[in-house]
């Protein structure tokens, strides 16, 4: 199996502060992979390094065998790796269709083609009815869905999802999970950063756990979650937080 994405000893320091060190793992072309860890473990930093928002200070990131670390986000997107944002960032001055069209332009330079592609994605996600709605008028769940729609419209090989379920109702979460679960069949691998252990268990085949910017465990989801060190780091801190 050749890895779709491979991280080799990735590190990131802000000034003297080390946010990530020696992170290595790989993701296969047809899997749903999870990055888990307590708050402040460096998940988002790692995520930003992969997506190109931050340049790692150490190590290599390979996507389809090519180095992408330090490349700007738009180039990474062009290679087929796209991300969503935990805090949704719709283009508020545009309609839903226009939002998706922006992303579709990454593969279809001609406006007519891009529009057709955008319609296909919206139809696929069941959002066709919103096409002409202003993005600004959507509710949280709809905006999350729009994030995914935009990401899919870039026709990626790997989709990075950052806390897609935060703030959704159980029904909305379930719908979102179904959506994600269907992606590998369409040839799209997924990396999720997720807080909820049950969700990770139900969605992902493999996972990596990090804490204090270092890899704690990597393997199948069950292995990683059941690893006592992960339990301690993750749940221990979570408990402490509840107490506080």
């Amino acid at each position: 199996m050749t890895a779709l994405l491979e991280l080799k000893n990735v590190g990131k320091a802000f000034g003297g502060l080390k946010a990530l060190s020696d992170v290595s793992f790989s993701v296969a072309p047809d899997e749903i992979f999870a990055i888990i860890g307590p708050n402040g473990a460096g998940k988002t930093t790692l995520f930003n390094c992969i997506a190109g928002a931050l340049a790692p200070t150490q190590g290599e990131i390979l996507f389809q065998g090519r180095r992408i670390d330090g490349r700007p986000p738009h180039e990474i997107c062009a290679q087929g790796l796209v991300r969503t944002f935990q805090i949704v960032k719709p283009f508020r001055g545009m309609t839903v269709l226009e939002n998706v069209k922006v992303a579709a332009f990454a593969r279809h330079p001609r406006p007519r083609d891009a529009e057709a592609a955008a319609h296909r994605v919206l139809a696929h996600l069941g959002m066709e009815a919103f096409a002409e709605t202003d993005a600004d008028e959507l509710n949280v769940a709809q905006m999350r869905r729009l994030e995914i729609a935009r990401a899919l419209a870039t026709e990626p090989k790997l989709l990075l999802l950052d806390e897609m379920l935060a703030g959704l109702t159980p029904a909305e979460s379930a719908a979102m999970c179904d959506l994600i679960r269907a992606l590998p069949r369409q040839g799209i691998a997924v990396i999720v950063v997720e807080h909820s252990i049950p969700v990770v268990r139900s969605l992902c085949e493999r996972a990596v756990a990090i804490t204090f910017g270092e890899v704690l465990a990597e393997g199948t989801t069950e292995e990683v979650i059941d690893d006592p060190r992960v339990q301690e780091a993750y749940l221990g801190r979570a408990d402490a937080k509840v107490d506080a």
Partner: protein, 335 residues
């Protein structure tokens, strides 16, 4: 493609106004000034309203265009055929350099505005000190009593109206073409959320630069026109901050989210100030009225008059609002 229809309507209105103004030289003068400021404001707003780059130094590009023509005509005897393209090339190059410097460090908002203002001021004071460019006295373009197409000298005003009207319509057409193309979508995406746009494959620096260069080029054309029309340039009138502020004012009042919003601002305000000048003898009453209008509109009508009009129009013929997410999710489940 309702955008093109709108531009076609606007273009038809411009042509109609031109034809009406043919009857009277003074009306033609008002028409010309309105088109001049309109085209400038539209080009400024391509940056501010469509791409989210607020420039306070746009007079720099007007000045480059105007001084290229004035210097070419008065010092070298070059015709507009040479000096107009020269001005545009210099302005576009200047915008490219400024843009590369500013965007490299991600300057935005107030910081970008003040940076462009600073470039403008450096140019203003440099021209004020430059003997070759006539220092603060400015340059007078040679005039003759004969009309000359080569030197863009006409006794009648309508040729000037024709030129600037064409510039305005071309500006709108280019703008509308780009808006419906990938470039326009990328610009608006950058305006709304740069980070998200980049993640979706938009090369932010390249597209912002492209916008800056286009806008500078159009402003330089307007500046070149100004030099030929007024036949006199000096630092205060073509490099002064007042000019940049005027572009901002027309855009704010007209509406920045739409291509033709700033033109509406110019159409309302240029004749408005002419009118006030005619009816009022009180010192500065025109500017006072203008300033009050600006403050009030910027506060209560942030989307501008054009934005307010289209919002009303859309609301009137709005489709019934789509239902919530739950029903969509349900539909998906059953599918």
């Amino acid at each position: 493609m309702s955008g093109f229809r709108t531009v076609a309507i606007v273009a038809a209105l411009v042509v109609a106004a031109f034809l009406l103004a043919l009857s009277d030289r003074y009306y033609m003068d008002v028409f010309i000034l309105t088109c001049f400021y309109g085209a400038l404001a539209v080009s400024w707003n391509m940056m501010a309203g469509l791409t989210g780059l607020m420039s306070l130094g746009h007079a720099l590009f007007v000045g480059i265009g105007a001084y290229s023509v004035a210097w070419g005509a008065s010092v070298q005897g070059w015709p507009p055929l040479v000096t107009w393209p020269m001005g545009v090339v210099i302005a576009v190059a200047a915008a490219a350099v400024m843009g590369m410097l500013c965007f490299r460090y991600g300057l935005r908002g107030y910081f970008f505005a003040i940076a462009t203002l600073a470039f403008n001021e450096v140019a203003f004071f440099s021209v004020s000190a430059s003997v070759a460019l006539g220092r603060s006295d400015g340059l007078i373009l040679p005039t003759s009593s004969e009309d000359s197409v080569m030197m863009l000298q006409f006794f009648d005003k309508w040729p000037y109206g024709l030129i600037i009207g064409t510039v305005l319509i071309a500006t709108l057409a280019i703008g509308q073409y780009l808006l419906t193309s990938r470039t326009g979508y990328y610009w608006r995406a950058l305006r709304d959320n740069e980070e998200a746009a980049e993640a979706l494959g938009v090369n932010a620096r390249a597209y912002k630069l492209r916008c800056f260069m286009l806008s500078a080029g159009i402003s330089a054309v307007c500046g070149a026109f100004y030099a030929n029309y007024v036949a006199f340039v000096d630092p205060r009138s073509v490099l002064g901050i007042d000019l940049s502020i005027q572009m901002l004012v027309y855009s704010i009042i007209g509406g920045m989210a739409l291509l033709w919003g700033p033109l509406l601002g110019a159409v309302l305000l240029v004749p408005f100030s002419v009118l006030l000048r005619n009816i009022s003898a009180m010192q500065g009453s025109e500017i006072i009225a203008y300033a009050v209008l600006l403050v009030v509109l910027a506060l209560i009508l942030p989307q501008g008059i054009a934005g307010w009009l289209t919002a009303r129009w859309r609301r009137r013929k709005a489709a019934p609002r789509p239902e919530g997410f739950a029903s969509v999710a349900a539909a998906e489940k059953s599918a």
